[in-house]
Symmetry: C2
Subunit: 136 residues, 2 copies
DNA sequence: ATTATTTGTTACACTTACCGTAACAAATAA
DNA sequence: TTATTTGTTACGGTAAGTGTAACAAATAAT
C-alpha cells in the first residue's frame, strides 16, 4: 500500500472510531467502513495502537477504541505512526557510476525541503478539523 | 523510473548540455554523465525535444543541443515535459465498495493542494540557478 | 478450565510495476 | 551508399504491491 493510501485509510478508520466513541469496533467492522479487508485494517490499526492513538482489547466484545481527542490528533502524527520511510518518497541516488553526484545532493536537499513543507501542512490538519469539514 | 528520478536525470542532462553549449552531445555521451544507459537517456531527451527545450539532430555529428536559455528553463516545465501523470502521485480512491467516499474527496483536495505547492516550488528553480549553486 | 472471539503477525500466491538492455526503423551527414 | 544517431518498441528479470489466508497470543464469557 502506498504511503498516501495508508494515510487516508488510517484517517478513515480514525474518523469512524471518533464517530462511535467510546464503543469498540472490530477490525471487521472498520474494514467494512474504509473498504479494505480486515487483515490489512488490523495491520494499520496496530501501528496506531503502538503510537497511543488507538486502544485495542482482545477477545469477545473487544476491538479498537480511539484514545486521543480528535482535535489532538494531527495528520503528521498519523503518518509518522504508520510509515517508517518518508511519506512521499522521492528517489535520487539510484544511478551507479555517475559523474554528477553534486547534482544528487542538490535534489536530496530540494526533496527534503518539499518533505518538510508537506509535513508542515499535515501538522495543521486534525481529525476534528476533518470531521468539521465533512459535517458542514 | 519514478517521476522524481526522471526529473533529476533530465536536470542532470540539461546541466550537462548547458555546460557544453552549443556543442551537440550524443545520448551515449550524456548517458555517461548522468549514469543511465543510452536508451533510457534518449527516452528522456526525446520528451524534452517535443517540448522545445532541447534540439536533436540525426546522423553523424548529430546529437542533442540545449535550445532554451538556462535561466528560462524551470523545473516545473521540465517535469511537465517528462511526466504525464502527477509527479509525486498520491493515491486515494483505490478501495472498492467503501462507505467513506466523502473522505476520499477530502484527500483528493488535500493532495491537490500539496501538488500545487510542489509545482510552485519547482517553478522558482531554473537550470541557471542550479548551475550557479553548483559553481559557488 | 474451556470455549469463542479478537488482535497482531507472518506467509504466500498473484499481479503489477520497474529496470536494464537489446533491437530496429527512421533520419541524415559524409 | 554507408555510417551514425535519434526515437520507439519489446522483452526478460527483478522488485514491489495487493489481497487473502492462516495461526499464535490474548482475553472475555460461560
Amino acid at each position: 500500500m502506498s504511503a498516501s493510501t495508508k494515510l487516508s485509510n488510517a484517517v478513515k478508520a480514525l474518523c469512524f472510531l471518533a464517530s462511535v466513541h467510546p464503543e469498540p469496533k472490530t477490525s471487521t467492522e472498520i474494514s467494512g467502513f474504509i473498504g479494505v479487508n480486515a487483515s490489512k485494517t488490523r495491520k494499520i490499526l496496530s501501528m496506531l495502537v503502538k503510537n497511543n492513538i488507538v486502544e485495542s482489547t482482545y477477545g469477545p466484545a473487544g476491538g479498537f477504541v480511539i484514545k486521543k481527542k480528535p482535535d489532538e490528533i494531527h495528520l503528521q502524527e498519523i503518518y509518522c505512526a504508520i510509515e517508517d520511510r518518508k511519506a512521499f518518497h522521492m528517489d535520487v541516488t539510484k544511478n551507479r557510476g555517475e559523474q554528477s553526484n553534486y547534482l544528487n545532493i542538490f535534489f536530496i536537499d530540494l526533496f527534503a525541503e518539499i518533505q518538510i513543507e508537506i509535513e508542515d501542512k499535515m501538522r495543521q490538519i486534525s481529525i476534528q478539523s476533518i470531521l468539521n469539514k465533512i459535517n458542514s
